[in-house]
Structures are given as structure tokens and as C-alpha cells.
């Protein structure tokens, strides 16, 4: 692969990292594998080793409760009689109006899962796979399909990749999105057969040499699979299935897949085809490159290909395409913890939106008492990501968001003269006035955040410790001094004034004047820090 830009190469291979395990390393790992590095999570993992931490991050958490009816109002009731606060995922489609409300419920719910994520990489992996097996809500256009699709992403996010591909191939949302349901022997639709190879498994790197005939053959294997709309599962119609043998190119070792004449036979064809595809080593390399570009850095240099991708791909194959062993080695590697990796990535909009609210531990109204407000506040978070060009569930096309793959800009695609000010407006608003839905407000609690710092009454330490969590790039001592004097000390040169103010706030918790003085200054401080380019880096 080409070398886009590497002023200094990332050092270290996949050998296990044995170096320092402090806030800098932990927050790096958490920012990359979760949404933001929350101070409580950092403190939690500080008591564990690197290895224990990563093992724990790779656990799959329990399934979340499904999305709910938050949309019933005085004037509008769910036509299927789903009660306010109950889930709609098992009901019938209904009509366009309720479907659009359920789609909103689904999107808000998804951002909710990100914000409420457990200490696990799982939610980031769901996003990774959403970008990989891309579908668009407005194309699929049935909230129930989308929810089921989401449960597949969740089930296999840290599971077996080969089995994952099979489930995605037969997933109703995917059968609809890439026209698999219309794929029949008399009018084969090559859409899925192509993307299966080009985007989902083999990729289009230099090691990928499948042919147009392979696309056609794959499409023929998949003829006859459509959707049972009542049960929302795949359905097989033998009359639409091409029962002839399918012959693949030399890239696939001239494999011939025997035509099946029953549903079981057709499903065996799919299994055989996946076995054939997964025989190609390029599959393991392609996915490992995607992991690398999503989690580490976009530039796959020849050295990275040789020292990182190759060994990871071998681990992937040796483990029958189990995902966890690969990620375990990748995140435990010296390469991942090389300081040159820190801050080298521009946060995606969702990373910024959800990461910020997680780093500041924003508390939402209780879902059980305020379903509507709860959903709508996450809706606002969803919308923030949307206006910054990452609309969850709505990637621009089947290839996912260009920032994750498009050379040579990659993550820089997220940033332009429209989106950058929106990022600043988001953090400014979140700090100063918060977001309100029907009198329920969410706002960054800057005082609570500062209280989590080890020595918040020392203005130098408060700033430095905050920066250790918020920034992954170093700042100058002059910067810290300037921010300290201009903001925390209101122009004074004596640190003690901040210490005195902070201590007074702690010793007199009912003194609102002092609390206000601290709050004003901390809001200015964090507003300033979160608006700078440094905060856009992960």
C-alpha cells in the first residue's frame, strides 16, 4: 500500500506492550476502543494490568433492552396499540407515520447504547461493523428490520467473522438494502454478490483478484433468498433459485459450487461459497487493515503491512476468523501504545458527541419516569452527530463513511468550514446552557468533572490532569500558564487564589456565590479547551 504521510513511523510490532500504565496510556486505549475516556473508567482500569484491561474490554455485555414507544402523545397513539414506554420491535409494520416514529426511536436508542456503554469495546465494534456492513435506514425503511439487523451486529461484533458474514447475507435488512430479495435465476441481481466480495470480505486491495464472473457466480448462488415479512426472517423460494453449478475463477482456485435443489441445498451453496471465499488469505488481511485504520491509524505503510497486518491476519486465520484474538493482540501490542499513535486520529462526529458526554458523565433524566425526554435528549445527540456529518444508521452509501476509507484525506474529511464550527457550538452549548427537552436538561457538569481530578485546588494540576484525559497531544507550559492566569485566576498571578476559592467551595457546599464563581471559571476553562483543535484529536 502507499505511504500517505508518515513524518515519523509508528514504532513497535505486535509484541506485547510492557511499558507504563498510567492515565496517558489508559485514556489512549479508552478513547480508541470506547467513546471517550471517562475519569471513572480510567481510575477503574488503573487498578488492573494492561492485559487484564484489554481482556475485560473484549467481553460482550448483555443485550440491551429494545427501543421503546416514546412517541405517543395526547394527540397521537401507536396504531398497533403499543403502549407508551413499551417496545414496538415485535409488532407489525403499521403505517408510514408510525414507522418514521419508530425509526427515530431506533436511532435515538442506538446513540443511547453508545452513551450508556459498559466498559467494553463492544459498542465501538457495533459502529465498526455498521460502517463495514453498511445499511441505510431510509432505504431499508422498516424500523423492525433495522432493529433485527442491529441485534445481528451486536451478536457477532466480537464473534466469528465468517459466521457473521453468513448471518448478514441472510439478514432481512441486508436482503432489502442490497436487493438480495429480488435476486432470482431469471433476473439475477448482482448487487449483494459484488459487495459481499468487494466490501465485506476480500476487498479491493492489491491482493484481491476476483473477477466479474465471480460476481455473477456469487449472485447466482444467492438466488431465491428473500424475506418473510411476517416473521421478519429470510425465506427461500426454490423456484427463483438457480440450481445449476457455479464456477469461480482461478482466484478462488477454480472452485465449482454444486447447485442445490432444496433450501438446504441452497444454504449449503452459501456455506460452500463462504468457505471458498474464506480460503483466500486476502480476506484476513483486508479485515485486519480495516481494524487498523479504524482503531490505530489510516496509513498502511509497507512496514505496517509486513509487521502488523500480516501477523494479525495469520492470527485471524489460525483462529478460524474469531475476531477477539486479533483485537486482543492488536490492542496489547507495542505498536498500539507507541506515543506516535496518540492523538493521530481526528474524532468522528459520534466520537466527539458521545465521547464528550461520557467524559463529563452527563446525567440524563431517568428513563422509567421520563421516557419521552430521555429519548428526545438522545435524539438531540443523534442530531448533533448528523449535522457534523455522521448520521447514525444513515451512512452515505454501502461503502460506509468515506472518512474511514477514502485516501488520502481519511479522517480529515470530517472537518471542514461547516462542521468545525458546529463541533465548537456543540461543546459550547453543552457547557454553557445544555440541551433541554420539555424542561429536562442535560449539561456538562464542569465542577463534578474537576472534582474527579486528583488535586483540583491546585490550578496547575487541575489543568494538567484535565488535559491528560481530554487531550492526546502535548501542550506547552506557556499554554497551561496562560490558561491558568487568564481563566482560573482571573488575571492574578498567585495560584493560592484558586486554591482558596476551591477549598471554600468544598468546605461551604451551600455557599452558592462561591459555587457560582468556581462554575463560571470552570465553564470558561473547559469551553476553551474543548473548542481547540487539540480536542478534536483522539
Amino acid at each position: 500500500m502507499s505511504q500517505f504521510y508518515s513524518p515519523t513511523a509508528i514504532q513497535g510490532g505486535i509484541d506485547e506492550y510492557k511499558g507504563e500504565w498510567k492515565v496517558a496510556q489508559i485514556s489512549h486505549l479508552l478513547k480508541r476502543t470506547m467513546f471517550g475516556s471517562n475519569p471513572d473508567d480510567i481510575a477503574y482500569f488503573q487498578k488492573r494490568s494492561v492485559s487484564q484491561t484489554i481482556d475485560e474490554l473484549l467481553l460482550t455485555p448483555a443485550n440491551p433492552e429494545p427501543p421503546l414507544n416514546f412517541y405517543d402523545t395526547v394527540d397521537y397513539k401507536d396504531p398497533q396499540g403499543i403502549k407508551f414506554g413499551e417496545t414496538w420491535v415485535n409488532t407489525i409494520y403499521g403505517d408510514g407515520t408510525v414507522n418514521s416514529k419508530r425509526k427515530a426511536s431506533y436511532k435515538y436508542w442506538w446513540v443511547m447504547q453508545m452513551a450508556n456503554q459498559k466498559r467494553s469495546i463492544h459498542e465501538k465494534m457495533v459502529l465498526f461493523w455498521h460502517n463495514h456492513f453498511s445499511t441505510e435506514i431510509n432505504e431499508v425503511d422498516d424500523a423492525r428490520y433495522l432493529y433485527i439487523h442491529n441485534t445481528v451486529l451486536r451478536k457477532y461484533a466480537l464473534g466469528n467473522f465468517k459466521e457473521f458474514v453468513k448471518q448478514i447475507t441472510l439478514d432481512p435488512a441486508m436482503l432489502k438494502y442490497l436487493n438480495g430479495r429480488l435476486n432470482s435465476k431469471n433476473a439475477p441481481d448482482e448487487n449483494y454478490g459484488r459487495e459481499l466480495q468487494e466490501l465485506f470480505t476480500v476487498g479491493k486491495g492489491i491482493g484481491s483478484k476476483y473477477t466479474e464472473d465471480d460476481v455473477k457466480a456469487a449472485a447466482r448462488v444467492l438466488t431465491g433468498f428473500n424475506i418473510n415479512n411476517d416473521r421478519i426472517v429470510y425465506n427461500f423460494n426454490i423456484n427463483n433459485h438457480d440450481i445449476t453449478d457455479k464456477k469461480f475463477s482461478t482466484f478462488y482456485n477454480n472452485t465449482i459450487i454444486k447447485g442445490g435443489i432444496t433450501q438446504a441445498g441452497a444454504e449449503k451453496e452459501l456455506d460452500d461459497m463462504l468457505t471458498m471465499i474464506f480460503e483466500v488469505e486476502e480476506v484476513s488481511r483486508f479485515i485486519c487493515r480495516k481494524f487498523y485504520q479504524f482503531f490505530i491509524y489510516y496509513d498502511i505503510t509497507p512496514a505496517v503491512e509486513k509487521d502488523i497486518i500480516e501477523p494479525l491476519a495469520k492470527i485471524f486465520r489460525d483462529n478460524q476468523y474469531e475476531i477477539k484474538p486479533v483485537l486482543r493482540v492488536l490492542f496489547k501490542s507495542q505498536h498500539f501504545f507507541d506515543t506516535n499513535v496518540y492523538g493521530a486520529m481526528i474524532k468522528s462526529p459520534l466520537d466527539l458527541v458521545v465521547g464528550t458526554l461520557r467524559e463529563f458523565d452527563v446525567s440524563f433524566p431517568l428513563q422509567k419516569d421520563f421516557v419521552q425526554e430521555y429519548y428526545n435528549l438522545f435524539g438531540e445527540m443523534m442530531r448533533q452527530g448528523q449535522i457534523m456529518q455522521q448520521d447514525i444508521g444513515e451512512p452515505p452509501n454501502v461503502a460506509g463513511w468515506p472518512a474511514y476509507y477514502q485516501a488520502p484525506l481519511f479522517y480529515e474529511i470530517w472537518i471542514n468550514s461547516d462542521t468545525y464550527p458546529k463541533r465548537n457550538q456543540y461543546t459550547n452549548t453543552f457547557i454553557n446552557s445544555g440541551f433541554t427537552k420539555n424542561t429536562k436538561k442535560i449539561q456538562l457538569d464542569v465542577v463534578a468533572f474537576a472534582k474527579k481530578m486528583p488535586i483540583p485546588n491546585d490550578p496547575n494540576k487541575l489543568i494538567n490532569d484535565s488535559l491528560e484525559i481530554l487531550y492526546k497531544v502535548p501542550v506547552t507550559t506557556e499554554f497551561v500558564q496562560q490558561v491558568k492566569i487568564d481563566i482560573l485566576l482571573s488575571g492574578q498571578s498567585t495560584d493560592y487564589y484558586w486554591t482558596e476559592l476551591w477549598d471554600t467551595m468544598i468546605s461551604k457546599p451551600n455557599d452558592t456565590n462561591t459555587l457560582n464563581m468556581v462554575t463560571t471559571r470552570l465553564r470558561s476553562l473547559y469551553q476553551y479547551l474543548l473548542a481547540l483543535p487539540e480536542y478534536q484529536l483522539s
Binding site: Y5, S6, P7, T8, I10, Y297, N340, V341, Y342, G343, A344, M345, I346, Y411, E412, I415, N416, S417, Y420, P421, S433, K472, V473, P474, Q482, V483, I485, D486, I487, L489, S490, G491, Q492, S493, T494, Y497, L501, T512, N513, N516, M517, T520, R521, S524, Y528, P533, E534, Q536, L537
Partner: protein, 517 residues
Amino acid sequence: MKRRDFIQNTFAGVVMPTLLNGLSFKAFGNVDEAAIGDGNILVVVQLSGGNDGLNTVIPIDKYGLYQNARKNIAIPQDKLLKIPQADTLGLNPVMTAFQTMFKEGKAALIQSVGYPNPNFSHFRATDIWNTASDSNVFVNNGWTGRYLAINNPNYPTGYPSTKYPDPLAIQIGSVVNTALQGPVQSMAMAISNPSSFYNLIANKVESTPNTLAGKELKFLREVANQTNLYANSIQGAAAKVTKQVTYPNTSLANKLKIVAQLIGGGLKTKVYYVSMGGFDTHSNQVNTSDTTTGTHANLWKTVSDAIKAFSDDLVGLGVSKKVLGLTYSEFGRRVKSNASGGTDHGAAAPMFMFGDLVNPIVLGKSPEIAASPSTNDNLTMQYDFRSVYASILTQWFCLDQAYVDDVLLKDFQPLPLVQVQACGKITANEPITITEDLISNYPNPFADSTTLTFHTKGGHTMIQIFDNIGRVISVPVDGEYEAGSQQVIVNTSDFNSGMYFARLQNGEIQQVHRMVK
């Protein structure tokens, strides 16, 4: 703003041939309210830390009491700089540049500016000055921000616009002063430091480390610069000014130089804030060998020289009539010096104003100093700082009084601080010279009660009684009165024994009288 519609339909200038304290006030009817004051610019110089006013402006008429109160830091009387406006005071000997400005009629001094119940915390006091709140009220937006929001309630949505192509306000510094915080948004943009300013006008980006993160940081900073909606107008204005006077090489002077460059280049920004720290002189504020030198002297040499250079530069750039300047600090310092050769956090202090159209006066008397001052003694306020703000709003920004009440959160009487032609409005352009005592009490010293006698010119009249720290103990008079001499008996049985100050406020007339229990 709630009064806007009302105001816009109201005749702006009212002819009021009143004789007020011997001065005639004239009003210009039918003035184009929209046009006047439009080009007027305010430059606010914040002196952080709490300036020691008594060693900045030294009372010559009370020199013995002054010298007695601060033996270790008093400045010799023969070194003080005289100004033509008042022979009762002298400036700190380093302030020769300011002395020249007073002589040229380009500077004004307001004695003992403060507010009732002063706060001695830097943070709280700074907030009070910036938000213009009462000392027991917490407000989270600022006086200039509220002023700018009157005509720009939706800022920044839709800005820059044809009518407002330039920033409404500029903070030279990384963080915008709370004074510029509007009800919803900050009304100002910050230019963090001279180097970032030069980067902005040269369209350069700060250097970044040669790392993978540095590459992205550079990219982000470039976009951030492009998205500065005012980059073009600032670059354009700065480029028009190629020649400026020589400024001293100090941080404050460098900041003011940028301000002059932008004003000279035609930027329509109305308010600039610059700040300078270091005024928190708890110890060693003078050199004991020569009290005319040392930390505090250096601070004021810096301020005075920088402002004089700025003033000269504005003349050279042909914009000096458009600019009014103001200095403030969050508090003054105690009357009595401490044993470390410094002074502790205090209350009222003098404020300076400067500009071609400033009313070049000294307002107020020398502060009261006790013969045996206690360590807690403060200068008693003669003027509320919000009266200074009210003067700027009405006489410089030509704002209708009804708006002023909104901006300053309640009614504050303007003082005659700006020459009439700035707005063509009702303002005195000569100092109010009050020679007679307008307030007295008997008996003095008093025990359980005392009778205050005061003269009012009529209208709203208020008397506040402060203790030596500045706390309001009683407000025996607060209402509408007929012109003439009035009396009121004050029950003082609850007063602790000590020094008290009765402050009379009647329109722009403010006078302080000392009493003892």
C-alpha cells in the same frame, strides 16, 4: 430588549432648560439617533489584582494622614506629579505620560469608585465589575455584552452581515472577559496574543510538532483559521495600517498597538478589552530605599506609557476622536499598608478615562483617611462604578436612559465624563465643583442617634451610611425630595463604635461625610 419598541417610538432628545447646580444643560432635539455615537469605540483596560489607588493618586490635601497611614510605602510629597485639574492631589511620580495627557485635556480621573458592600475576593469582585451586579446578586452575563445584545439579539446567527461586517467586540487575550458575555452568547471574539494575531493577519498557522498528531493538528488549525468568519475583515483592517508610533516594549503596549492598528484600519468593532495583571501587591510594592520605585511604580509606568503611546498613535492614525478609554481594577487596596511593605485587598479606588472627547476633569474629593487608621479601613466609595458605565452608555454610545437601566440592571445616574459633542445629548461638559458641604450631622460624635442635614437640588436623593470597610449599615434617605435643605434623624443605637461615612447621592452630585460613634 423589552423597552426597545417603546424607545424607538419615543422622541429622543428633550429640550430641558434646567439649571442644575449652576450649570446649564442643553439638549439637541431632532438628532439622528441612529447615526450619532455609531462610530464611537470603547477601549477598556483591565488592571487585574486590585490596584492600590492611594499610591496611584496621592491626596496632597491630606498628605499628613496619608503618610501616617502608610509610613513604609508613602511616596514623598515633593516627588508627586501635579495636574492642572486639581491641586489637592498628585500622581505617582512614574506617571509622567498620564500627567501630559491631563495637561492636554485628554484624561479624566474619578475618585473612590466602588460599590456598596464590597467583596474582597478577586474572583467575586472581578465578576461584580464585569457583570455590573450588586455585590449580593449573581449575574452570568456582562454589561458590555448586554449593551451589544440590544441591537444584536441573535448574534452570532447571521453575522457577519452588511450592517455589522466586523466583530462586535474584541478581547485581546485568550478568553473573552465576562463583561462581554451577552445574555445568550459571548458577543466578542478573542485574539489570544500578539503572535496569534500576527498569524491571523499573515494567514499563518502556529507551528506543530513533526508527529502524526502534529499533522492532523496543523490541518485542524488551518480549517479553524478559515472558519474564523472575521478573518478577512481583521486582515483587511490590519493591512491598511502600515505606520504606527513607537510603543514601549511591554505586553500591554503590544496589545494596545493591535487595538490601534485595527481601529486605524477602519474596523467597526465597538468595544475592545485588554488586560494586564500584577496589581495584587501584598508585599514589597515599593523599594524601601526609594518609594518612588518598585513593583507598583513599574506597573503604572507600564500603564501610563502604554496608554500615552496608544493615544498618540490614534492621533497619528486620525481616529483619536472615535476612541474613549477606561481603566478599572476589581478593587483598591487598604488605606493602611501592611508590615510587608504592601497593601491588602480593599474597596474603592480611582478610575482613569482617556480620549480626545473625555471630559478632562477630576471628579470627587480626596478620600477620607483616619488619623489612626485600623488595618480594616477602606476608601469609602464616592461613585458607583455603574455610574461610570452609565455615563459611557449615555454619553459615548448615546444610549437612551431606558436602555441603560436594562444594561446596568437598575437605575444609575450618569456622571459628566464625556464631552457633549460625542452624542449631542444632555451632558455637562464642565466639572461639577462643589465647594460647600451638602451633608452634615449633629451631634458628631454621636451616641444613640444623630441628625443628618442635607441639601438636595430636588428629585431622587439618597443617603447611605457605610462603615469603615464599606458595608452599607443604613439607608436613611432614599426617595424624591423638594429642592432645599432637609433633615433626617438616624437611630444609631445599634451601631458599633467607630468611623462611619454618610454618602449623599443626588443626581450626578455625590458627596461623602465622615462621622464617628
